[in-house]
Amino acid sequence: MEPRVLTSKKPFTLKGFFLQWEWMLVLLFVAVIVMNVNLSDYFWDYNNLRDATMSFLDKAFIVLPMVFIIILADIDISVGSIVALSSVIMADLYAHGVPMELALIVCLAVGTLCGYINGLLIVKFKELSSVIVTLSTMIIYRGIAYILLKDQSVGKFPKWFNYLGWGYVGSIPFILIAFAVFAVLFGILLHKTTFGRKVYAIGSNPTASRYSGVQVDRIKIIVFTLAGLMSAVTALFLTSRMGSTRPNIATGYELDVIAMVVLGGISTAGGKGRMIGAILAVFLIGYLRYGLGLINISAQTLLIVIGLLLIFAVSVPKLKWKGTGAKGKAV
């Protein structure tokens, strides 16, 4: 009997290997570094490069579960509001005498709950697309944050709380280590477990997956819950960076996060993309912003540059790019 050839796994060719989207990201990353080094003498400095990560990594935690969500061909635009709500509840509790350690755990619990509610709503109301559901929860969650704190800010956290966003382990920023740990965990979850394979399956073809026995609903709920949890993690680091919080923090974070995921080669049509792409995109956008900030470029010009980069990221695959996963799918 002839051995069956699995068409989903293409034979390895050197050309095929190097023409992957992730290598294009590496090329872009190198280009950005080279450009920045030429623009400013302050860029190529170990301390500066190291400290720059502390500025852009706070929202990177949300990028990790967002990769899953977008592979599922869903979206979650409520993450910014979840960050705000978790942070506000934590601060409000602390201001009312709850010990900070406990408030911290409540923050994570709130985020997880918000994510779980998102998942539940999306799964129960199949007629509603995830963008509509998370649009509503985006407004509701931030609304609750405003009701709690009105327009005020709460701060004066204990000194040790500063360590999260500003501290170092040896000479490596704590936030970088935390991100690395989570990135590895999520990467393994996506690429090395059956859970991850099921996520790809659902993204490529939800109906076929369901009829093949994949528990689509359960997986979606888990993924959205994870997004809520990681939003709460971001809330911890962001609140620590600012030393205080108020209801309008993290506005627009969902757009930044989705931009990083899409730039990472994860198609919004679903079923395609790799974790390493998103991680590369995080550092690409982070250092691009930082480097341009070092030459004091105006805030508006920066927005244009990032926007153009995104358009490029989205349009190139349309031109018969040999990416990984579902072939010929429109972005």
């Binding site: 950005v32 302050y42 960076r241 600012m242 108020r246 030459i295 105006s298 153009l308």
Partner: protein, 357 residues
């Protein structure tokens, strides 16, 4: 595949080009001229040109642009280089990022108009630990985040004068509301505190402050907040807007709705923006100071600190260019330098001032 590779390289080139072009446009929305005197990303030579930076609350704010202009003038009068930065959203997170970028560039001084009095503390303390002289201007940061604060006028005088003015406008009785900027802005909150204190005086027993609304210094939000005030409080007699963006927005709304004689408007406004409303009577009079001078004074304060002429302690004196001698005074648990008294703009003098700023 050749097509794709070419496109990829083209994109890379485009990114580099854009950054290169953008790199020449270094002023953050200030005097948009092509003067190459802004930061070039190169380190200052020891003993050579110093680099002093100013961060405002947000871009697209004419008042802020005037302040940055004044700052630049002061710094360049001393033969140094000015770096002007402002975020596109009035948030503390964006300002923290900019502070980090300035620390990386090893600037000599940072002057900041804060979006939040406390949220910038960790970042500014990091700057001070790195040897950078940090001062705040216009909107203060808490005393631990700065060496000293440059204040435009005594906040007590500003608050009290505005209430006295509004009382005169509405004949001593009626409902009034305040249209402020962002809820965390230090300067706004201090002035509102003093307004409330002034209202405790028995002679204002018939005046009631019904609401403090927040327009966030954003034009569209200020417009909608004004409209909401007019809807929710139909008996409103006056609006006090101690923010140039807010007062201009309120002026437009009141004019468009034809409420000129029903609802009076006053506050702090830029003469150039408010001239039409003062001339039409929608705003009988208002106050301000010269924002160019505020920036200018901040520039000289920063220079004096960098040169080591002062350390920010109470009682120290220094010369601030054309503004003359200035003294550092106490302010809560910190110190500050004052520009002077608020200036009244009315139909008598608006014509001459609207060209200036």
């Amino acid at each position: 595949m050749k097509k794709v590779l070419t496109l990829g390289l083209a994109a890379v080139m485009a990114v580099t080009l854009l950054a290169g072009c953008g790199g020449n446009d270094k002023e953050a929305g200030a005097s948009g001229g092509g003067s190459p005197s802004a930061s070039t990303g190169q380190p200052s030579d020891a003993g050579g040109k110093k680099r002093l930076a100013i961060i405002f609350k947000n871009t697209g704010n004419p008042y802020g642009e005037k302040q940055m202009e004044g700052f630049k003038k002061a710094v360049e009068e001393n033969g140094d280089e000015a770096i002007l930065k402002a975020p596109d959203q009035p948030t503390a997170e964006a300002q923290i990022q900019m502070i980090e970028e300035l620390i990386s560039q090893k600037v000599d001084a940072i002057a900041i108009a804060a979006n939040d009095p406390d949220a910038l503390q960790p970042a500014l303390q990091k700057a001070m630990n790195a040897g950078i002289k940090v001062i705040s201007l216009d909107s203060a940061v808490n005393a631990q985040s700065r060496i000293t604060h440059v204040n435009q006028a005594d906040p007590e005088r500003i608050g009290r004068t505005l209430i006295q003015g509004v009382s005169e406008m509405i004949g001593g009785e009626g409902e009034i509301a305040i249209l402020s900027a962002t809820s965390q802005a230090t300067n706004q909150n201090t002035w509102i505190e003093w307004m409330k204190k002034e209202l405790e005086d028995p002679k204002y027993a018939n005046i009631k402050l019904v609401k403090v609304a927040y327009g966030d210094d954003l034009r569209d939000k200020s417009v909608s907040e004004t409209e909401a005030l007019l809807k929710s409080y139909p008996n409103l007699k006056a609006i006090i807007a101690p923010t140039t963006v807010g007062i201009a927005a309120a002026g437009k709304v009141l004019t468009d709705k034809g409420l000129k004689d029903k609802v009076k408007l006053t506050g702090l406004g830029l003469p150039s923006e408010m001239a039409e409303y003062i001339e039409s009577g929608v705003c009988p009079w208002m106050y301000l100071w010269n924002p160019i001078d505020v920036g200018y004074l901040a520039g000289y304060t920063a220079e004096a600190l960098v040169k080591g002429e002062i350390t920010g302690a109470v009682g120290e004196k220094f010369t601030a260019g054309t503004l003359g001698e200035k003294e550092i005074v106490a302010d809560g648990d910190g110190t500050q330098v004052m520009l002077g008294d608020p200036f009244k703009f009315d139909s008598g003098n608006i014509a001459e001032w609207k060209e200036v700023y």
